[in-house]
């Protein structure tokens, strides 16, 4: 069991409400999430928590990255019930009981997931910050059947921005994995 983080911490430094003492919030007292095959129960969840907050601040799964916090960059992409979503715009309470896959859940027994291996092989990142989101998105892209051509890959990976500009190598990595059918 992990206690909820404080309301003021969640409000964030840029939020006007952080300046005043936030009134108490009725905590959600029953919250369960299955992350990477493991059930997690939280004793108290601030209703304002996003899925991104819960993964990083409550479960210490910091592979999922906060970026724009507005659904514009895709750094926070995870799979919920197998579908890719922006965890920064997902209220945690709204995915109670569901299965979540993060980048920490991809490698098994020390062996990288084929998409992780392909990103290394094709040098598909520079700073690496967007990479966890890119990899989750890429896996979903192939499973959705949207990786049939370079053009499709570019279109269906457009929700993940890479400010280092590693796009050509990201497309190459996705294409290579799609060609193997091993996803």
């Amino acid at each position: 069991m992990i206690a909820a983080v404080s309301a003021t911490a969640l409000a964030g430094a840029n939020d006007a409400t952080a300046q005043v003492q936030a009134p108490p919030v009725a905590a959600i007292t029953s919250f369960r999430l299955c992350v990477n095959g493991q059930d997690h129960d939280l004793a108290a969840l601030d209703p304002r928590s996003t899925l991104l907050d819960v993964l990083r601040d409550h479960l210490d799964l910091t592979g999922t990255k906060p970026g724009c916090q507005a659904g514009a960059c895709g750094a926070c992409t995870v799979l919920v019930g197998g579908r890719r979503v922006n965890s920064c715009l997902t209220l945690a309470a709204a995915v109670h009981g569901q299965e979540v896959t993060t980048v920490e859940g991809l490698a098994h027994d020390g062996t990288l997931h084929p998409m992780q291996a392909a990103f290394i092989e094709h040098d598909a990142f520079q700073c690496g910050y967007c990479t966890p989101g890119q990899i989750l998105s890429a896996i979903a892209c192939i499973r959705e059947g949207n990786a049939g051509s370079d053009q499709d890959i570019r279109e269906y990976m457009s929700g993940n921005l890479c400010r280092c500009g590693a796009y050509p190598n990201i497309v190459a990595a996705v294409k290579a994995v799609a060609a193997t059918g091993n996803i």
Partner: protein, 329 residues
């Protein structure tokens, strides 16, 4: 984010009873609500999660009518083969919107309720916004207004309605089904979004506490022979600078009936009926398309930075029409 209580609605009746409170908001896909709550633009005291209401989820495609449950996700709907074949403009308007992640989250009902992307509306440190603070003024009128509307604006507000899906729905005479504590009613899409002239804070003709349950669109020859063309600053994952939902019912080389709605350029999904009438009974040529496009933008009012949207919008419409000529049967 302002504190709120969270409640997962057990039934539609439960949702409506709790949603009647003046400070309550419904949560569907969350892509607008969570975003605007984080920025302090929307500050509900209670959030009613309606995602568990299975009866709002399905899409049904019959011979005569398309029926879209309000909670159907954009991505799943866009991929339906029957929709792509029989209503290409509807499917394309969904597929060209947002990103794959957002299309997995966002719903068909929430989409038509999405709020403007006007940066002054989205920034609570800006005092002047008649949408956020009625009576405070409009910072965009003389501010950064490149992305703003040229049709249907007023001195009170020049914000663009950002939805693609709502534009396609407007072209093909959709009906929005809403339910409230007093029962269900059907609102034609043409009167669903309010004009800005009176109060820009009032964006739809829904009453507070009502929920969109479904959207229906009648099948038609024009819808089967249709296209949604979207022009953006980048090739993918951006809001429209200009878009056109167009459908044509042909009679040989002549247009029997045209359906046209414009996006990215107007304060609400913009049906261009004069342009439709001008095309009816005439062959579709560059010249007739050009003439129709001028009618569509008659009365457009440019601001300091968005005058380009008038020629861009016209060309977008002409291009959409000509695309259909190429595929006319």
């Amino acid at each position: 984010m302002q504190p709120f209580t969270y409640h997962r609605a057990a039934s539609l009746a439960d949702a409506l009873s709790r949603g009647a409170a003046s400070d309550a908001a419904y949560l569907a896909g969350g892509t607008t609500l969570v975003d605007l709550m984080r920025m302090g633009v929307m500050r509900p005291a209670s959030v009613i999660d309606i995602n568990g209401l299975e009866e709002l989820r399905g899409v049904r495609i019959d011979a005569e009518i398309f029926r879209f449950g309000a909670l159907a996700p954009m991505a799943e709907t866009a991929a339906l083969p029957a929709l792509r074949e029989r209503a290409p403009a509807l499917a394309q308007s969904l597929a060209l919107a947002a990103s794959p992640q957002l299309r997995n989250m966002a719903t068909l009902g929430g989409n038509i309720l999405q709020r403007t992307r006007c940066s002054y509306f989205r920034d609570v440190s800006v005092a002047e916004c008649n949408k956020r603070n009625p009576g405070s003024g409009c910072a965009a009128l003389d501010g950064v207004n490149r992305n703003h509307a040229v049709l249907g604006t007023s001195d009170a507000c020049v914000a663009t309605m950002p939805s693609d899906w709502a534009v396609a729905l407007a072209a093909f005479d959709a009906t929005v089904e809403v339910v409230g504590q007093r029962g269900m009613r059907r609102i034609p899409i043409a009167s669903f979004h309010s004009a800005y002239a009176d109060d820009p804070a009032v964006e739809t003709t829904m009453a507070h506490g009502e929920i969109v349950t479904a959207i229906t669109v009648p099948a038609s020859a024009a819808l089967r022979h249709s296209v949604y063309l979207k022009v953006r600053d980048r090739q993918s994952y951006a809001f429209a600078l200009a878009s056109a939902a167009v459908g044509l019912e042909m009679d040989g080389h002549n247009v029997r009936a045209a359906r046209i709605a414009l996006g990215g350029v107007a304060s609400r999904p913009w049906r261009a009926e004069e342009a439709e009438s001008a095309l009816a009974g005439h062959p579709l040529t560059e010249a007739t398309a050009e003439a129709a496009s001028h009618l569509a933008f008659e009365g457009a009012r440019p601001l300091s930075e968005n005058g380009f949207k008038i020629p861009l919008g016209r060309r977008t419409l002409v291009e959409a029409l000509m695309t259909l000529r190429g595929t006319a049967t």
